[in-house]
């Protein structure tokens, strides 16, 4: 059994997101006038073997220890699917 999950990491709201701002600007210049705001973050798709332990908990640890710098970034975990091997 394997589990596929996704961790999404975004700069925290109060942090200036220079990349998001630059993309929003570029979209404006390209004529996409409807775009009001863009935030740029990271997405990680992780496949884990499901050995019965809590997947969410493990992904939380992985995010805290490596994927996100929680001083400036928020993360969220989603389970996508389980598959039997």
């Amino acid at each position: 059994m394997t589990v596929r999950a996704r961790v999404t990491v975004y700069p925290r709201r109060e942090i200036l997101d220079a990349q998001g701002k630059a993309i929003a600007g570029a979209l404006g210049r390209l004529g996409f006038d409807r775009v009001l705001d863009v935030r740029a973050g990271k997405s990680f798709e992780i496949v884990l073997s499901d050995n019965g332990g809590s997947v969410e908990e493990e992904l939380g640890q992985i995010s805290e220890q490596l994927l996100a710098n929680t001083l400036i970034e928020d993360y969220s975990v989603e389970l996508l699917e389980s598959e039997s091997a």
Partner: protein, 241 residues
């Protein structure tokens, strides 16, 4: 002084720092492998610049978990000297050994150029060779050098005088307003270029002192950082004016 330069996979300024410590300053220097668990009696450990693990996630994020880092932390806790330059600074932040975090440069590009720094603290083991308020010219070379922290933490940093270097214009004027994009190119909060810990024995800085430690390159403003760190600030080769 016995000095160690840590080699992470992807470090690329390790030899540059080694060269200055050993050949310019005549110190005993060894390379410390990231997989080692001891600093082998070094009194000064330098975390050099480069792209540890490619900096593929966040600069410094993966190197923090190398076995050598526990020993580096222990050295710092015991009062030993730890200097992080560029990627080394980013690693110290990720390790929580210094406060704050790095974001990508506001230009969203790698920036390699000379900038100017004001020495805010000259009473540290790393800056005793400078005068307070002295303006130094020093090269930067990084993509993630925008230093930030929450407002409260920044105030505390200032209050505790943990800002060691600040980007300024060539005359020592504030790098703010119109001057900001030109002289604080990475967009660091309060133009911060280097910070230390409370005890003052751990320093992180984005500019590269080892790249301006020889008049051959028309600039030895950075030599005194390393000379001070090994207790040779009075050396006539230092940038002491």
């Amino acid at each position: 002084m016995k000095c160690g330069v840590v080699v992470f996979p992807g470090s690329n300024c390790d030899h540059d720092v080694y060269h200055v410590l050993k050949h310019t300053l005549g110190q005993e220097v060894l390379f410390l492998w990231h997989g080692d668990t001891s600093v082998q009696g070094c009194e000064l450990v330098v975390l050099p610049g480069g792209f540890s693990y490619g900096d593929y996630l966040r600069a410094g994020a993966m190197a923090v978990h190398s076995p050598i880092m526990a020993a580096v932390r222990e050295l710092a806790d015991n009062g030993g000297r730890v200097l992080g330059i560029c990627n080394g600074f980013q690693i110290l932040l990720e390790a929580g050994m210094l406060s704050g975090a790095m974001r990508r440069n506001q230009s969203l590009r790698f920036e390699c150029r000379d900038l100017f720094l004001k020495v805010e603290r000259h009473d540290l083991p790393f800056t005793s060779g400078y005068r307070s308020g002295q303006v130094l010219r020093m090269p930067i070379a990084h993509a993630e050098g925008c230093y930030i922290d929450t407002g409260g933490a920044l105030d505390e940093l200032e209050r505790n005088r943990r800002v060691v270097f600040r980007y300024v214009d060539p005359e020592g004027g504030e790098a703010s307003g119109e001057n900001a994009t030109k002289w604080n190119v990475n967009g660091s909060a309060r133009a911060i270029a280097g910070v230390c810990n409370d005890a003052g024995n751990v320093l992180g800085m984005m500019p590269h002192p080892e790249r301006c430690a020889d008049q051959l390159f028309g600039n030895d403003d950075g030599l005194a950082v390393l000379a001070s760190a090994v207790g040779m600030a009075a050396d006539p080769k230092g940038a002491v004016a």
